[in-house]
Amino acid sequence: MKRVGIVSVLGAVVRRDLTIALRQKSEVLTTLFFFVIVASLFPLGIGPEAALLRRIAPGILWVGAMLAAMLSLQRMFAADYQDGSLEQMVLSPQPLGVLVTGKILAHWLLAGLPLVLIAPLLGLQFDLDGRSLAILVASLLLGTPVLSLIGAIGAALTLGVRGGGVLLSLLILPLYIPVLIFGAGAVEADAAGLSASGHLALLAALLSLAAFFAPWATTAALRISLE
């Protein structure tokens, strides 16, 4: 037996969560299929008018990704809460912030990254050109981790609350608004002939802000939920 540093502890948490998720594939797949279906319903409902679809595409893809990422939020800590693993994490001599960061990272890898990867394919349904697709992917790449980070605070706060799922959405969706505005705005700005870099820079700023504060707030929320 040997002692290890913080990075390997983080790695162990991520690895554990990924192993669990890959054994119960339904979790990853529901998120992904939800996104695919929501994004596909709009072109079917609105009709094949290319100019209109191009205009609404960024907003729809972003809202879809947001709702899909939110579907799996409640499960971020729920299983660990029920089987007592969360107590063990709180009692671990490792800083809880590091363990929580690992859980958030695992959530993003399972619920955020797949959305980023499938988005360009869905963008094709809306007749987006290659340049817009690239910006869409960039904005999602910067934005979806923020969704996981902010979502973790809500997931921790609503642990063990009856009907926590609805409460979680009400709590978290308003906080997602800035990400939505700058994320969808990046693609729209580029389509309008402006530079998208301002929007992307703001998303990156949101990401660093969330990465700094969210694990800390989640830690505090978890301790309260476990009392």
Binding site: M1, K2, R3, V4, S8, V9, A12, V13, R16, T19, I20, R23, Q24, A79, Q82, D83, G84, S85, E87, Q88, M89, V90, L91, S92, P93, Q94, P95, L99, L226, E227
Partner: protein, 205 residues
């Protein structure tokens, strides 16, 4: 040394106990007894620092545990009602995951060894969902086999175990106390731990 001073507990607006005190020296065992709902689990969670005490203070080697933080958690092992094992992981994976939380890397061989000692030979690589209640408890208890913690806090460790596992657990606890470790446990049954005279703390009014 673990001390509880003037402890009080309140759950849902009802006082469960108050002015409770104990002192536990090295190599000693504290057995908490009491009827259902008398606050045994609450007391154990207090000792771990999971639930703050409504009144009073718990000290580890003379310092309040709230002030010690990570230094205290380093010397603590808590086994609650829940086994803290994930159904879809194998026994071995569960054990390695728990070890990682304590900042230890458990090799495949070491994890297998601990599981064999607790009587799970041949079940190491089964998803724990297929194990019986008692076997799941054994997976949770396998942590005791490699733990380096000085203070063991065990909530109903004997539940769901068969006679052989009971004897093994009693032996493991005795060995831990023999090394100068401390243990706090709750139990409804009297379990003889060889050569150890336990302090008892009765919470029933």
């Amino acid at each position: 040394m673990l001390e509880g001073k003037d402890l009080a507990c309140e759950r849902g607006g009802r006082a469960l106990f108050s002015h409770l005190g104990f002192t536990l020296g090295d190599g000693e065992l504290l057995q908490v007894q009491g009827a259902n709902g008398s606050g045994k689990t609450s007391l154990l969670r207090m000792v771990c620092g999971l639930t703050p005490a409504a009144d009073g203070e718990i000290r580890w080697n003379g310092t309040a545990i709230a002030a010690l933080g990570e230094a205290y958690r380093e010397s603590l092992l808590y086994l609650g009602h829940h086994n803290a094992i994930q159904d879809s992981l194998t026994a071995r994976e569960n054990l390695s995951a728990t070890a990682a939380l304590s900042g230890l890397v458990l090799s495949e061989r070491e994890a297998g060894e601990a599981l064999r000692r607790i009587g799970l030979r041949g079940r190491e690589d089964f998803p724990t969902r297929f194990l019986s209640q008692g076997q799941k408890r054994r997976v949770a208890l396998a942590r005791l086999m490699w733990s380096k913690a000085r203070l063991w806090v065990l909530d109903e460790p004997f539940v769901a175990l068969d006679a052989a596992a009971l004897a093994l657990l009693a032996e493991t606890i005795a060995a831990h106390l023999g090394r100068g470790g401390l243990a706090v446990l709750t139990s409804h049954q009297e379990v003889a731990i060889a050569g150890i005279s336990a302090q008892t703390l009765n919470l029933s009014p």
